[in-house]
Symmetry: C2
Subunit: 362 residues, 2 copies
C-alpha cells in the first residue's frame, strides 16, 4: 500500500469495500450498497471529484452522528404529480434515490413528477439519479443546493453553492444525453482534488479571500469559486437554490452546513427531483428517433479550429466508463491510502489480491 | 416623422397603435392587444430587442399567411398535471399565454403543471409568460426553441437557436426574481439591433461564416452566435430544444424556420411552459419571507472590485420600467419610421399629438 504511483482498482471490488465500511457505520446493507455504487459510478465516469475520494468525510460525519445512518424518510405532502420529502438527515444518495423513485412513480401516473427534498446531505453525482429515469423511458432532472462556496455575480464573498443540475434524456440507438454540471466554472470537488495534488487551477475559476482571481487551488478553497457563464450562470445557480432549498424548506445559501468545515451540525441540504414520462407527451419510439436524429446532426456539425469533434453531454463520461470497466479505476496514492486506513480502522479486510489489471502489491 | 434623434413614446399609445395594426392583419382584438402588450412590455423592461422593433416582421409574416391570425389552439393530450398543445401556427404570444394559463390551472390542481407546445411562432420575451404565474403566487418557467443561429460548443456552424429560458419567483416585500435569458452570450436580437445601429459587438459573442470570432455585427449575423458559458451553456441550450422541440413534436435544431430569412413556410417553433403552485409545497407567506431573506442577504454581499452593487435577476428591468413608465419608451428613428410606415400602409392613424414628454413633431 505504499508507493506514489496511481493504481487501477477493480470497480466491483471497490464497491464492495466501500459498502462494507459504510455498513460498519450502521447503514443498512441496501443503503450502503447504493452509496458505494454512486461513488464508484462517479469514478467510472471519470468524475473522480465525486467518487470514493468522499469516503473519509462520509465516514467521519456518520461517526460523529452528523448524518443519520437509518433515516425514516417521510412524505410530508403530495399530489399525484408532486411531493415534499423529509430526508430525516439521511445520506444524500439514499434520500435522493428514494425521492427520484417517487418522482418516477408520479410521472408514470401524471406525465410529470416533481419531488422537493429537505433535511438531506451531500448526494454525490447528480446524474446517478437522473439516469434512474432513463431506465424507465423518462427524462430525469435532478438538482441540489450545496454549501456556500461561490460568489454571486458581482459579489466577492460566497453566498451560493456550486449547486449542480443534471438532466438525462433517453435516446434510441445513440447514447443518452446526460448533462451533469456544477454551476461554478469548475466543480469545487475538482479544486479540492487539485489542492490535494498540488496542481494549479485555470484563471477565472475562483477568487481568493481578498476577492482577487487566483490559480492557487489552496487559496481558492479559502476564497470562493465563480459562477459559470457570468451573470447567467449565477442566476441559474440562484434559481436551483430557490427550487431545491427555499421551496422545499431545506436550508439555503450560507445556511447550509459545510461538508468539511462544519462538524457541529447537519448540512440540511435540499434537492429537487423531476421526471417526465415521455409516453404521455409522444410516442416513445418516435421521440427516440428524433433524439437520435438530433444527436447525429450535432455530431456532423463541422468542428471549430483545434477541436476534433463536437461532443454531446455525457459522451466523455461514457467513453471513460468503457475504459475503466475494462482497465479498472485509477486511484491516486492518497485516495488509496485513505481507503486502506478506513479498512484498518473499521476492520474491513483489504483484499491484497483484488483483481486489478496492474496490481503490483505483493 | 423625420429627424435622427431618439424619441420617447408613451407606452399606452404605443400599445394601442401596435394592436390596431395587428387587428388590420385579421387578428382578433384580444389577441392583438396581447401581442402588442408583450412587445411594449419588453420595451418597458429595456429589452428593446424583443420590443416593437419586431412589428414589421410580425406584420410581414401575417400578411404572407406564414402565421395564422385566427388559430384554433387545441389540447392534443393531457393529464391533471401536463398537456401537449397544438398552436395551429398562431402568434407565439397568443399560443404561449394560453398554454401558460393551462399550466397554471394544472398547477393549481396538481401542484405542478407542465405544458409542451408545438406549431407556434416567435413569442417575444419569455418573462412575459412566467410573470403570469407570479400573479397567481406560483413559480413560472418558460422556454422556447428558436431558429438555428448558434454553434454548439466545439462546432463552427449553427445548429442550436439562442433558445431562451425564463423563471419567475414571487417575493414578499422585495421585487420578484425574474430571470429571462438567451442561451447565447448575447441575444441575437441585440446583434440585430447593433447591426441596425452600425455598432460593434463584444468579442466572444459570435463567429463569422469562416468560424472566426468577430466584433462586426453584420458579419456575426451571417455567421453564428456562441453559447454562454461554453460547454455548459451549450448543453442547457440543447436541453431546452429537447424539451421545447423534440418532446413536444415541434421542429428542432436547424429545422425551425428563420423568422427573417425563411419566408416560404411557418416556423414550427416549440415552447415549454411550467408552473409550480407554491401552496402545495409550503405555506406561501413562509416561502415569501424566505425569498425576501435570500434577496436581502444577496444584496448585502460585498461587491467585487469595480461593481457598485450585486444585482438580482429582473432588478435592472424593473428599474428601467419605472423610468420608462414615467418618461416614455425611447425609440430609435428607424424603429419609429418603421411603425409610421406600418400606420400609413394599414391606415392606422398616427397620432401626431400622442403624449410623449419630448415630442417635437409640430
Amino acid at each position: 500500500m505504499s508507493g506514489d504511483s496511481i493504481e487501477n482498482v477493480n470497480p466491483s471490488w471497490l464497491k464492495g469495500f466501500c459498502s462494507a465500511v459504510l455498513q460498519e457505520m450502521e447503514i443498512q446493507p441496501k443503503d450502503a450498497d447504493l452509496i458505494a455504487e454512486s461513488l464508484v459510478q462517479a469514478n467510472l465516469w471519470g468524475v473522480d471529484s465525486h467518487g470514493v475520494t468522499r469516503m473519509p468525510i462520509y465516514v467521519e460525519r456518520l461517526r460523529k452522528k452528523l448524518v443519520n445512518p437509518k433515516p425514516k424518510i417521510t412524505i410530508l405532502q403530495e399530489t399525484p404529480a408532486m411531493g415534499v420529502v423529509d430526508g430525516d438527515n439521511g445520506s444524500g444518495q439514499v434520500v435522493a434515490s428514494r425521492s427520484m423513485e417517487l418522482a418516477i412513480a408520479k410521472a408514470r401516473e401524471s406525465g410529470v413528477g416533481v419531488v422537493g427534498i429537505r433535511n438531506s446531505n451531500h448526494f454525490g453525482a447528480a446524474a446517478f439519479f437522473t439516469m434512474m429515469a432513463l431506465r424507465k423511458e423518462m427524462i430525469g432532472v435532478a438538482m441540489s443546493n450545496a454549501p456556500a462556496t461561490m460568489a454571486p455575480w458581482g459579489g466577492k464573498s460566497p453566498y451560493l453553492g456550486t449547486n449542480p443540475i443534471s438532466v438525462a434524456v433517453p435516446a434510441g440507438q445513440e447514447l443518452p444525453i446526460v448533462l451533469d454540471m456544477a454551476t461554478s466554472v469548475v466543480a469545487r470537488g475538482k479544486i479540492i482534488l487539485a489542492a490535494r495534488k498540488g496542481e494549479c487551477i485555470p484563471a477565472g475559476c475562483a477568487i481568493d479571500l481578498d476577492g482577487e482571481v487566483t490559480t492557487d487551488a489552496a487559496r481558492a478553497l479559502d476564497g470562493c469559486v465563480l459562477p459559470f457563464g457570468g451573470p447567467k450562470g449565477s442566476a441559474i445557480s440562484l434559481l436551483i437554490d430557490v427550487l431545491a432549498g427555499v421551496l422545499t424548506g431545506a436550508a439555503f445559501g450560507p445556511h447550509i452546513g459545510d461538508l468539511y468545515r462544519n462538524m457541529e451540525c447537519p448540512q440540511c441540504v435540499g434537492h429537487m427531483m423531476g421526471a417526465i414520462d415521455i409516453s404521455w407527451f409522444s410516442d416513445v419510439d418516435a421521440f427516440k428517433k428524433r433524439i437520435d436524429q438530433m444527436i447525429r446532426e450535432l455530431k456532423s456539425v463541422p468542428p471549430a479550429k483545434g477541436v476534433r469533434e463536437v461532443l454531446l453531454p455525457g459522451e466523455i463520461e461514457s467513453r471513460i466508463q468503457q475504459r475503466r470497466e475494462a482497465e479498472g479505476i485509477p486511484l491516486t496514492p492518497d485516495v488509496l491510502s485513505d481507503l486502506y486506513r478506513l479498512g484498518l480502522e473499521y476492520e474491513v479486510p483489504w483484499c491484497d489480491t483484488h483483481p486489478t489489471p496492474n496490481d503490483d502489491r505483493g
